[in-house]
Symmetry: C2
Subunit: 193 residues, 2 copies
């Protein structure tokens, strides 16, 4: 396989990139942006080597502890549980949460043989039992698997006497009711305030 074909093959492994996009990217980089290719190569190698997981909350971090865990001004009574570092980053960008996080390793999925053991619920229990945490906010996805994860994690926490809450379900901001799916409207009705 030529270097060009190998590059196309490697680009195809990126999420959302098929054969045509990979070809386009490879030709673009070689024809118009060799410096960009070098930079991306270096950035990938550096990130793969330097980015580890925070020892406390398991999000991506280049140091042993991530900046959020190191921030002593945060509210230690709140612990927010998410599925991935990307979810944690999204919550952080909202700027409306001042507690700490715990990042699971994905979600439970019985069909794929992924149970609570595999996603780090034991570590979460240990983290939540530090004597400071008063409320664990379950911010897993609102998909079938995310809901199942929130359910089992909530049960495990309750067995330990820890209080858990779930993100509110409801109508997304900016949406017209007519176009919102019925399940969401039903939930918004039940959870009205």
């Amino acid at each position: 396989m030529s270097a060009l074909e190998q590059l196309i093959e490697a680009l195809r492994r990126l999420p959302g990139v098929g054969q045509k996009s990979a070809q386009r990217m490879a030709y673009h980089l070689l024809q118009h942006d060799r410096e960009g290719a070098q930079r991306l190569s270096a950035a990938l190698a550096a990130a793969a080597q330097q980015v580890q997981h925070c020892q406390r909350c398991h999000t991506f971090s280049e140091a042993a502890l991530c900046p959020v865990c190191l921030d002593a001004t945060r509210d230690a009574k709140l612990l927010c549980v998410v599925e991935t570092p990307a979810d944690q980053a999204a919550l952080e960008r909202t700027g409306s949460y001042r507690g700490y996080y715990f990042v699971l390793q994905g979600r439970v999925s019985p069909l794929d043989g992924i149970s609570t053991k595999d996603i780090g619920v034991a570590e979460l229990l240990e983290r939540a039992s530090d004597g400071l945490v008063e409320e664990v906010i379950l911010a897993t996805s609102f998909t079938a698997e995310g809901e199942a994860t929130a359910h089992v994690v909530g049960e495990v926490l309750r067995a330990r006497g820890l209080r858990s809450t779930r993100l509110a379900r409801g109508v997304p901001v900016g949406s017209e009711l007519e176009y919102v799916d019925l399940g969401t409207i039903a939930h918004a009705l039940v959870d009205r305030r």
Copy 2:
């Protein structure tokens, strides 16, 4: 800027990749496919270093001459002019052309100050004047700039006494007439055979 942010920044330079896709790619690579990240890094570095331009037709090649130019069984009477190595690869994949190629460095674009000098028309003239080429097929894009390029290149070739042809314009294979744009239908009518 952290290694993760640098990676997202570098991924954003890929064509068709915005902030959100770049984030998704970076998180995916770090969370699920570090081996893919290493492989992509290596493939980029290798391609940027090894992939050069064929000295004869200027398409991408890892050797001084590309496999097509080295293929002595091709028809030396035909020379097909394209804008980019990607266009050359597309034509080659059709399997219906047995001549040689010449890859321009893009297309003329007076608004961007890109003239025939910048896209290598002098080299094309030299290549087409080898005494063997009898027909130069202009396979530039059917955009305003591609048409302009075909026009000026055709003029230059004619001044040298070289015959040039243009790819046929017409209705794309597999399309329903109702949905084909009117300019295309008009051309297909004029060029009917």
